[in-house]
Symmetry: C2
Subunit: 300 residues, 2 copies
């Protein structure tokens, strides 16, 4: 992507009207992207989904110029290909279909755990095509096109996860694209650190909620005592076991490390309680309070 900047002008804005996009997967994120691209005036939008009813609905909503139920030569028109499908599916899709992509296509994804994906995909692409990983910190608890909305991007952060082989142009393009979607902040981070942070900030917090609900202390009387702290702390305890099992396993070493660090924090509490060490408890609460207030006032 050294010469052609995919519509990115010197002022940092993208000329959407001259670009053709292919959105692979029209779920909640893919559908939201198609809606945003339509609003942004994209020259052409190709949508691909295995589900015929989804394709039909997307067409009826005027989101697509072309609807595909399988990869094929039409994809050659796409300057930018956005894969809004599950992590392993991204690997398979791009690995098997590079033959259908434009010779200098820019490819990106929206998956929440990266692992070696960005390296593997770039290695599998012909010279001239570039893959740059990223994702919005956005989503919906429910899934599917019907739940999609371009508003999910508004004010969200967009994470760009480049590797050393990514061009400056591709990075600049993804920053501008995220801002055009309505995202408030963009941040660049390498895949390794990305997955570490996700392990802590998202995966661990789902594990802690599940673990709270699973305590052997939970009994028939519990419900009479439940107030805000328990409701908040377990709000994400009811998750899709199949999906989250895959997400956890795909990042299991990093998540295990976070669980370990968290156990250490709890052991410090246990020790302070056993010793009646109020000063130690207060120090832990003061640090947490300071950080949490910083979060509240955070403008990012």
């Amino acid at each position: 992507m050294d010469g052609d900047l995919k519509g990115l002008g010197p002022d940092g804005s993208i000329s959407f009207k001259n670009l053709c996009f292919a959105v692979i997967g029209l779920g909640v994120i893919g559908g939201s992207l198609a809606k945003a691209l339509r609003r942004l005036g994209a020259g052409r939008i190709i949508g691909l989904d295995r589900d015929e009813a989804t394709l039909q609905a997307a067409k009826e909503q005027g989101l697509l110029d072309e609807a595909l139920s399988a990869p094929g030569p039409s994809l050659k028109a796409a300057d930018v290909v956005i894969c809004a499908i599950y992590p392993e599916a991204v690997r398979t899709f791009i690995g098997s279909n590079a033959v259908w992509f434009k010779e200098d296509a820019l490819l990106t994804d929206v998956t929440g755990i990266k692992g070696t994906l960005p390296y593997d995909i770039q290695a599998a692409l012909p010279a001239g095509m570039e893959f740059i990983a990223g994702h919005p910190m956005a989503g919906r608890e429910a899934k599917g096109l019907a739940m999609s909305s371009e508003q999910i991007f508004w004010g969200a952060n967009y994470i760009i996860v480049p590797t050393p082989s990514n061009s400056e142009g591709a990075k600049a393009w993804l920053h501008s694209f995220a801002k055009a979607l309505g995202c408030k902040h963009t941040v660049e981070i390498d895949p390794e650190e990305h997955d570490e942070i996700i392990a802590y900030v998202s995966q661990l917090t789902h594990v802690t909620a599940v673990a709270l609900m699973d305590s052997p202390s939970y009994n028939e009387n519990t419900r009479y005592f439940i107030a805000g702290s328990f409701r908040d702390g377990t709000r994400v305890a009811d998750i899709n076991p199949e999906l989250w099992c895959d997400l956890f396993l795909s990042n299991r070493e990093k998540l295990a490390a976070e669980v370990e660090k968290y156990i250490e924090q709890l052991q410090a509490w246990h020790k302070a309680l056993a010793a009646g060490d109020g000063e130690a408890m207060k120090a832990m609460m003061r640090l947490a309070g300071e950080r949490r207030r910083g979060l509240n006032s955070d403008k990012v």
Copy 2:
């Protein structure tokens, strides 16, 4: 309280107009009680608070028939004395002032951890006076009379914490009183089990939030990745260290036991992650999901 049922009629309703109440402490709970008692048509409301400005404000709002800044003979008029002050203050206040109470006064409190309080207080009272412990599962994050509202009781649960020495009459009266306040459900539980449940449902959930914020993984980049699960899981991480340290220490053995059980849950996760045991993870998520859905649909 065997003969006089403090206005409790055979139909389970309380005749408030014939009763004199003393509310000790006009903070968020005490103030809310005074407001509710006024609406319920209490015959007389005496309010006691050490803070003159609070007393003045309560009088101006028409909540009190008599305002006291210290205990004295006026308290003799009170059929029911409700202590809405900190746990240790309840012990001291009742222990030092029984001389001012009506000879057959009914006393109660609203403190969230009971310990040996119900036993100690009853033992310190002259024969004829009865203390029955309880509290609403209600409150506000902010404190003080200005934040009080009788609406905090509406739809809340009220926990009654009797000991074997409490009379049936006192228990029945407190059930009716809670319902009159607008509480939806009342539940009776002994002090030991009460404090165990609070250790799990309230205290542990504050510790888990603090521990999440205190992870050494928290860094400058964390904030860009924060979404609902982290915000929810740390919502109560910013608490008053002095107050909560006292609450934790007053129940430290039971809280330490809950922290231990919670660590065991997390160790099960760590083991499953290390072994790549997806079935174990899914089983933990299924149990949590089932319980959490039960909580959502719970009508209590």
